[in-house]
């Protein structure tokens, strides 16, 4: 089973209230990920697998499964290429156990 499939299976157990069309995290400049950031650690270290590496070298971010930990915000310290806010009040992951 691929790494992403495994993450998706885990996230399926969680509760979310997705703020449709209003992602709370955004990549500032997609070009920086391609041309400057060689390692793209977000695509490996995000525990929810929100960042995927495309075959053309681009990084695609889908925040629906975000666990709101902040890893991507801190790990992108070389380029500071993510804008990271908390979801609007009441939206995002809703931990049943935490």
């Amino acid at each position: 089973m691929s790494a992403n499939a495994k993450v998706e299976e885990k996230l399926f157990q969680n509760r979310y209230r997705v703020d449709g069309g209003r992602p709370h995290i955004q990549i500032k400049d997609a070009e920086v990920c391609v041309s400057q950031c060689g390692t793209q650690p977000c695509t490996v270290c995000c525990p929810a697998g929100c960042y995927t590496q495309e075959s053309n070298g681009r990084v695609v971010l889908i925040t629906d499964g975000c666990l709101e930990c902040g890893t991507c915000r801190i790990i992108c310290n070389d380029y500071r290429n993510v804008t990271w806010e908390y979801p609007r009040g009441g939206y995002g992951v809703l931990f049943k156990f935490g």
Binding site: A3, K6, K10, L11, R17, G49, K96, G98
Partner: protein
């Protein structure tokens, strides 16, 4: 709506709840803002509750707090790929009330704590994210929320907004956290029948067990794992420094999956139903990473202030204690009708310095650097110890003296005599 409060507390985790509770009890007009649907819905912890800190706030918490199991046994495992070597400490003393520590489920516990805060008189508004601090020059005068017309004013704002501490960072009170000062922990909760949990850990009633783990489960990275018993579930998790995850490009999800397949761990989880997967950053930079924690009209408490003792896996107790200190500082100044200036709020830091919060962090101030610089503590040593145990415990006709020599030769081969002595010295210095 130009309503003004004595204090606004941002966040309803342990530090925020402790602060809001203490302020409200003293009759102050307190507003607490929480971005989750209910307090606890955004909060994640490898959840061991230490009674002492909470007892000082709510002495009779045991009467109605949602507690899972009190801990009667602590295990420390150092793992190799196939084995572990470790120590177990179990005492019937820990099985006599009042109990010293409990496992909890944060979504339930935080909700309960928040109910106490509201009973004490604080106003709580959930589903409200604070987006910015309102400033008058250098002084914090309130908060901007994401609600319509969401400006709210107060004489004091206590930032209990957690490890990411976005508000303080945005306001320039402290720099962005560095990857070397924070660990990422991922965990899962697995449900099993209560009798299965009890049988697997040889406990009855409400007694429980915690296993702390180090070694090859972190694949060479600085970090630890844990597994503990709840009433009818087990929580398993692993945490590593973000700088190591970044450098080694290891997926935290895969790390946890790998750990769950360890031959000493898999049978414990066997047959459980996984019902939640969560992740959380833990500020583990220690004493040297503590930011400025007060200024004109503001104080920072709990995780946002980096108050975590990673060596002893303590955090929520530091959070609650710092929350109380911040509240007490406000109450004392208000009683003397002194303004909440940085100069007057320095009293908060004095209280912290005089307590276990800063004293403990100071004691281990060099520990993060020692572990960062010496990954052998997480790789070579676990292997060597497990190999040594394996050799001594395998009965194969070789005499024990020869086995000891072989073990020592292996230690020297793997690490050299100077390396071994140097490591012992480094650890001694860091623990001193």
């Amino acid at each position: 709506m130009a309503e003004k409060f004595d204090a606004i507390v941002v966040g309803a985790g342990p530090s925020g709840n402790a602060a809001a509770y203490t302020l409200a009890k003293a009759g102050m007009k307190v507003l607490q803002l929480e971005r989750g649907e209910y307090p606890g819905s955004k909060n994640v912890q490898g959840a061991i509750l230490y009674s002492d800190a909470l007892e000082k706030i709510i002495p009779d918490f045991r009467d109605d707090a949602p507690l899972e199991r009190h801990i009667i046994e602590q295990r420390m495992w150092v793992l190799d790929d196939e084995s572990y070597i470790g120590t177990h400490y179990r005492s019937d003393d820990f099985n006599k009330p009042p109990f010293n520590r409990y496992t909890i489920i944060r979504a339930q516990f935080d909700k309960w704590f928040s109910e106490k805060v509201q009973e004490a008189g604080a106003m709580l508004i959930c589903e409200t994210t604070v987006s910015d601090l309102l400033m008058d020059g250098k002084r914090v005068i309130g908060v901007q929320t994401d609600r319509l017309g969401g400006e709210i004013y107060a004489d004091m704002v206590i930032l209990a907004d957690g490890v990411n501490s976005l508000l303080a960072t945005k306001a320039g009170f402290h720099p962005e956290i560095e990857p070397k000062n924070v660990a990422l922990a991922v965990k899962e909760i697995h449900f099993l029948p209560q009798e299965t949990v009890e049988a697997r850990f040889n406990v009855t009633g409400d007694a429980g067990v915690v296993i702390e783990m180090a070694g090859k489960i972190t694949q060479g990275m600085m970090g630890t794992g844990f597994l503990y018993t709840n009433k009818e579930s087990l929580t398993i998790g692993v945490g590593c420094m973000l700088s190591d995850l970044k450098k080694q490009k290891i997926s935290p999800c895969q790390l946890l999956e790998q750990m769950k397949t360890h031959p000493s761990i898999a049978p414990i989880l066997e047959g459980g139903e996984m019902k939640e997967y969560s992740a959380h950053l833990i500020p583990e930079g220690g004493y040297k990473a503590i930011p400025q924690v007060f200024g004109d009209g503001w104080m920072i408490v709990g995780d946002s202030a980096m108050f975590v003792n990673a060596m002893h896996r303590e955090g929520s107790n530091l959070a609650m204690t710092s929350g109380c200190f911040a509240a007490e500082t406000v109450i004392e100044l208000a009683a003397k009708q002194k303004p909440f200036t940085a100069k007057n709020l320095a009293r908060y830091r004095e209280k912290l310095d005089a307590s276990f919060v800063i004293k403990d962090l100071k004691k281990y101030k060099n520990m993060p650097d020692v572990f960062h610089a010496n990954p052998q503590f997480f790789t070579t040593y676990p292997e060597m110890l497990n190999q040594a145990a394996h050799k001594m415990l395998t009965v194969d006709g070789v005499d024990k003296k020869t086995k000891e020599k072989q073990i020592m030769a292996n230690f020297k081969h793997r690490r050299s005599l100077f390396g071994l002595m140097g490591d012992a010295f480094k650890l001694w210095r860091a623990f001193e």
